[in-house]
């Protein structure tokens, strides 16, 4: 039991242990966070983007596509092309309105979306988790469709026409798909084709 002052070396191991532990912790911390500094924006929305692409394709290429061709572009007695022939990228404006109204028929003033109609629409667009016979809302993705139409009176400000049965989430990933279409309206006075961008968002 010699006095403490005679052999202070006994404490070095403890100091060393504490020091090296702190050093190693700092070291591991730095190495763990350096890769994240280079890739800050990591999004897990692969699946959502694929669902949004699929829904936009279904809308633009089958659900909304124009097959009427009864526009007054036919002058001079040429017969109209029979229904069924579809032109790519040209959708029928009336069908889009029907889509909006179909799921809001109960409320003529606003857009009330009855849950049954919304689920049917999600099945048509392929926004389910593979459960085509389900009627539960949680088995389907949420979606929002926006049609931004060109307005000749205000060329810089497009007119947005939305189908939005679900509210946007505050923190979740959102998949998006944009398609450019021409809206065909046979009753329009001037040009019967209007430019529009259809955006489908899925979460």
């Amino acid at each position: 039991m010699r006095p403490y002052q005679d052999h202070p070396d006994g404490q070095t191991s403890l100091d060393f242990l504490i020091g090296i532990t702190i050093f190693l912790l700092a070291f591991i911390f730095v190495f763990a966070f350096i890769p994240k500094m280079f890739t800050p924006f990591v999004s897990n929305s692969d699946q959502l983007t694929m669902a949004a692409d699929r829904a936009a394709e279904a809308l633009v290429e089958s659900v909304l596509i124009d097959t009427t061709h009864t526009d007054q572009d036919f002058a001079g007695g040429f017969p109209a092309i029979p229904d069924g022939a579809a032109r790519p990228g040209i959708i029928n404006g009336a069908k889009y309105l029907q889509l909006q109204d179909h799921i809001s028929a109960a409320d003529p003033v606003g857009h009330y979306y009855s849950p049954g109609d919304v689920i049917q629409m999600k099945k048509t667009l392929g926004l389910g988790y593979g459960k085509s016979v389900s009627t539960a809302a949680e088995d389907f993705y949420h979606f929002n469709i926006t049609l931004s139409k060109y307005d000749p009176a205000h060329p810089q400000v497009p007119v947005d026409d939305k189908i939005s049965p679900d509210r946007y989430p505050s923190g979740a990933n959102v998949g998006q798909s944009k398609r450019f279409v021409l809206l065909f309206d046979p009753t329009a006075a001037g040009d019967k084709y209007t430019m529009a961008v259809l955006t489908v968002r899925v979460w």
Partner: protein, 228 residues
Amino acid sequence: MRGDNRGQVLTIEALVATFILFIVLAVVVEATSVTPLTTSFTNQHVKYELQNMGQDILASLDGAPVAGTNLDKAPSRLEQSVSTWLQGSYTLYQAGDTPPTKGDWYTYDGVQFFKSATTSAYHEAQTPLEQALTFAFSPNGIAYNVEVRYPDVDANGNVAVYSAKMIWNGDPSDNCVTVSRYVALHDVDATDPANTVNLPTGSFLISDFSPTTSLHNVVEVRLTLWVM
């Protein structure tokens, strides 16, 4: 044990040194190298969106007839855009402006006008292609170039493919997307002389490779898109 108290330190040092070596090796092997060519998911998705929009613009404009024409024999709006550029028949913005030249190329000023690169002619977005591009892309900070590739006969009599610029907004970035579509251009038909879309007789940048028929040429319209 006197004078032997360094034995512990050597061992611990060795252990820590091995540990650090091992950690460095593991980090180096596992780390993803981030180079300029590495595509993050966000980047790739933007390219898919641009590709979809570009293809849609070319396809839908090629499927819609010129406004107010017979659907049976009408040129498509895409053909109208190429033909207007070839003929230089843009409407002047104001009386007294320099008229546009045939086959000249234009730069979008970011606000309203397409300005000629070689003269002081300028015009607002007029052809369906220009209108679609300024509607879909310009407000979103996406730049575009439009080039037209056409076959022609060179000095030795061999057929070669040439490229002409229609709209040029600078060299694209590394993350650009190019979409293209083939368009058939036609001569003015004797049965439809009021059709100003088709090409009258005369010389144009893209020559008539079938003088005996109403087909003028088949060109490839290439649209390059990139995020500014």
